[in-house]
């Protein structure tokens, strides 16, 4: 740098936002575990508080280590900037609370992570923010659900639990027609598989707990702004286009044409709700991101081998991976996710709930737990864990059967993973006799 073109993905994963520390020469990103930062003078302090200067004041609002992570994820996504948060849930809440208030409305895909569904359907409703859920592929449904009070369209790149691929170009065009922003949860795909901004999304967030970190060690989230949405033209967001009494009467869209959303989110949402990330967490996630391209390639390679294996097994009723022609989103996946469809997917085991339990308990390498996106392979049986209170009819409503098994394929030797699955399938088969 500088050169004739922007750096590539692998270079950005290692360098974006970070340079040798000017104070010490440290090459790796230092962990700035400090609550606050000394002012040079009273005048310097006043100018920082009044946004006449850029800089750090207090680590709830910003921190140098977190800033490296924010810049790096923004760079990988092709965005203008980002904010690191305490969790993926906090990132979603920050996006919503920056744009919406009591009386606001959201249109969301019905194929969401359960935590996101809980936040939108139950918790935010208690605060006067209503959400209409539509099937991700039902474009007429998205269109019909939009109201004058709508502030946001929201979906996941790969929906839960069936991995419905969100048709981001079409939903983004619809959002654009109504001058509404499209927020996308890109946790399952990471920017290595897809950059939603390239397809018209306006805001992206991650549960960085998953693939960005990659090591199952920390909880964190990142909210990224593409910088392309015109808040002024939309005329739906006085939070960004009118003076904000809570911060010097600032009109955020005047202060930054492309960063108005992030300014408000940081100066209000992060300041007041306080769901900030620890610098130590930011550092661990940065360690993960440095190898993201290598890990994602291996995740996909292993997943394809495991999917191929499962498809041919007599104990397997069906495999739900969008690269398979049988998957309803296969055509969309080919168009939007040519590098792969992630490493989290479900398959249906033939037999009873008891056989599902037997399968899980026979696994030796796969860890039975409620997470995804780890470098280790993970498994969960929804009918006996997350959805254990549901009868078979209720499970069917949720798109789950008694034999549905969700896998998150890690970075182990694929042959070992297949052997582990093979043995567990035999145990499950015997449990049915």
């Amino acid at each position: 740098m500088p050169g004739h073109s922007e750096p590539g993905f692998d270079t950005l994963a290692l360098h974006a936002g970070a340079a040798p520390d000017p104070a010490t020469g440290a090459r790796a990103v230092p962990i700035h575990l400090t609550t606050s930062f000394v002012f040079d003078s009273s005048e310097h302090a006043a100018s920082l508080f009044n946004m006449e200067r850029s800089g750090h004041v207090y680590s709830r609002i910003s921190n140098p280590t977190n800033a490296v992570l924010e810049e790096r994820v923004a760079a990988l996504e092709g965005g203008a900037g980002a904010i690191a948060t305490a969790s993926g849930q906090a990132a979603l809440h920050l996006a919503v609370s920056t744009l919406a208030g009591a009386g606001s409305h959201i249109v969301a895909s019905s194929a969401l992570y359960g935590g996101s569904h809980n936040l939108l359907h139950y918790t935010l409703a208690r605060f006067g923010i209503e959400t209409t859920f539509v099937k991700p592929g039902d474009i007429d449904g998205w269109r019909a659900a939009i109201r004058p009070s709508t502030k946001l369209l929201f979906g996941e790149t790969l929906g839960n639990p069936g991995l419905d691929v969100l048709d981001i170009p079409t939903v983004a065009a619809l959002a654009d027609d109504h001058r509404l922003p499209l927020l996308v949860d890109s946790t399952f795909t990471t920017p290595w598989l897809m950059k939603p901004f390239d397809h018209g999304a306006d805001l992206v967030f991650h549960s960085a707990t998953k693939f960005l970190s990659g090591h199952g060690t920390v909880i964190g989230g990142v909210l990224v702004d593409g910088g392309q949405f015109d808040w002024m033209a939309s005329n739906r967001f006085p939070e960004l286009t009118q003076p904000y009494a809570g911060f010097h009467g600032m009109v955020f869209s005047e202060e930054s044409t492309v960063g108005a959303f992030l300014l408000r989110a940081r100066r209000e949402g992060l300041r007041d709700f306080g769901a900030c990330m620890s610098p130590h967490t930011a550092w661990l996630i940065l360690q993960g991101i440095e190898t993201l391209p290598l890990r994602m390639a291996r995740h996909i390679e292993n997943t394809r081998k495991v999917v191929d294996f499962l498809v041919g097994q007599k104990m397997v009723e069906s495999v739900g991976y969008p690269e398979l022609e049988s998957h309803p989103s296969h055509a969309l996946a080919k168009r939007l996710l040519p590098r792969g469809c992630g490493s989290v997917f479900s398959f249906d085991l033939r037999g009873s709930r008891a056989q599902g339990v037997a399968f899980i308990e026979a696994l030796k390498i796969f860890s039975h737990l409620a997470n995804v996106g780890d470098c280790r392979s993970l498994v969960i049986h929804p009918a006996s864990t997350t959805h254990f209170r549901m009868d078979d009819a209720a499970l069917a409503q949720a798109g789950i059967t008694a034999g549905t098994i969700r896998l998150s394929i890690g970075l182990e030797d694929a042959d070992d993973l297949i052997d582990d699955l093979k043995r567990a399938l035999k145990v499950a088969e015997k449990a049915g006799t």
Binding site: P2, S5, A74, G227, V258
Partner: protein
């Protein structure tokens, strides 16, 4: 604030977060190609809160200002002077970046009695644009934006970022240029603005007419307007030259150093 400039469509000027007061010493900020007022907001806020009246203008066809973009540096200089009239400002410090620095120079030459200071940032004269870049700007403007963006930044980790922590400067600057480009339907604003820079040939004559103190603030690692290309114009203007550790996007890459240079220039 909205300015009603004689003979032109209404124009937008950012006033630094304070109401504009024409009785205070005025600083006018003039942005570069495919940019808008938002490249100035930290400097403008500082000035507005330290005794200055501030006008950070959106040029015609850029950002919030209506109308077609103007075709030459000379026309834009006349427009800036007309903007001062509209704001009731008799004299002002003129601060420009890149294309805006040429506009500031020309305005200071056309009305030397009205310019209290001239500050040219990220400047060069002549500001020739290669045929290859002009052709790319014409035929593939989004690709050209990426090229210019790569040339404009000295690195991948300018701190503390702009306008605040967490902004990825490459992405923010690319988004701004794309927004400006998309804002003009039926006209390739990128090609237009770079043509304005390329065609300007009145710099040395303008320099001879300037009477106020002049500062050049240059990015030591600028690849768009290399400091080597400023020697002649710096001598002609008898300018004080300050180099900061940054590329062409120096206000974003080195905001504190640029503020220090501006404070010296305005003192």
């Amino acid at each position: 604030m909205e300015l009603h400039i004689k003979g032109h469509d209404p124009a937008y000027a950012y006033t630094g977060g304070k109401p504009f007061d024409a009785a205070l010493p005025c600083v006018v900020f003039i942005h570069g190609a495919l940019n808008d007022h938002s490249v100035w907001t930290l400097l403008a806020r500082w000035c507005a809160h330290h005794g200055h009246a501030v006008l950070a203008l959106d040029q015609p066809g850029h950002g919030r200002s209506a109308g077609a973009p103007l075709a030459s540096v000379e026309a834009l200089a006349d427009w800036v002077l007309a903007a001062l009239d509209a704001a009731g400002v008799p004299r002002a410090a003129l601060v420009g970046h890149s294309m805006g620095s040429l506009i500031a120079l020309e305005a200071a030459a056309r009305a030397p009695e009205r310019a209290t200071r001239l500050v040219m940032m990220g400047t060069a004269y002549p500001m020739k644009v290669s045929d290859a870049l002009l052709d790319t700007a014409r035929d593939a403007p989004l690709k050209a934006i990426d090229m210019v963006n790569a040339f404009s930044h000295a690195g991948m980790a300018a701190k503390p970022s702009y306008p605040g922590p967490g902004m990825w400067l490459h992405g923010a600057d690319r988004a701004l240029m794309r927004r400006m480009q998309a804002g003009q339907r039926g006209l390739n604003l990128f090609h237009h603005d770079f043509g304005v820079c390329d065609r300007y040939a009145h710099g040395m004559e303008a320099a001879a007419a300037v009477r106020c103190p002049v500062d050049l603030v240059l990015g030591a690692r600028d690849q768009m307007t290399s400091p080597k290309q400023t020697t002649g114009i710096a001598q002609a203007l008898n300018a004080r030259v300050t180099r900061v550790e940054a590329g062409h996007a120096l206000m974003a890459e080195a905001p504190d150093a640029v503020l220090a240079a501006l404070r010296r220039a305005l003192a």
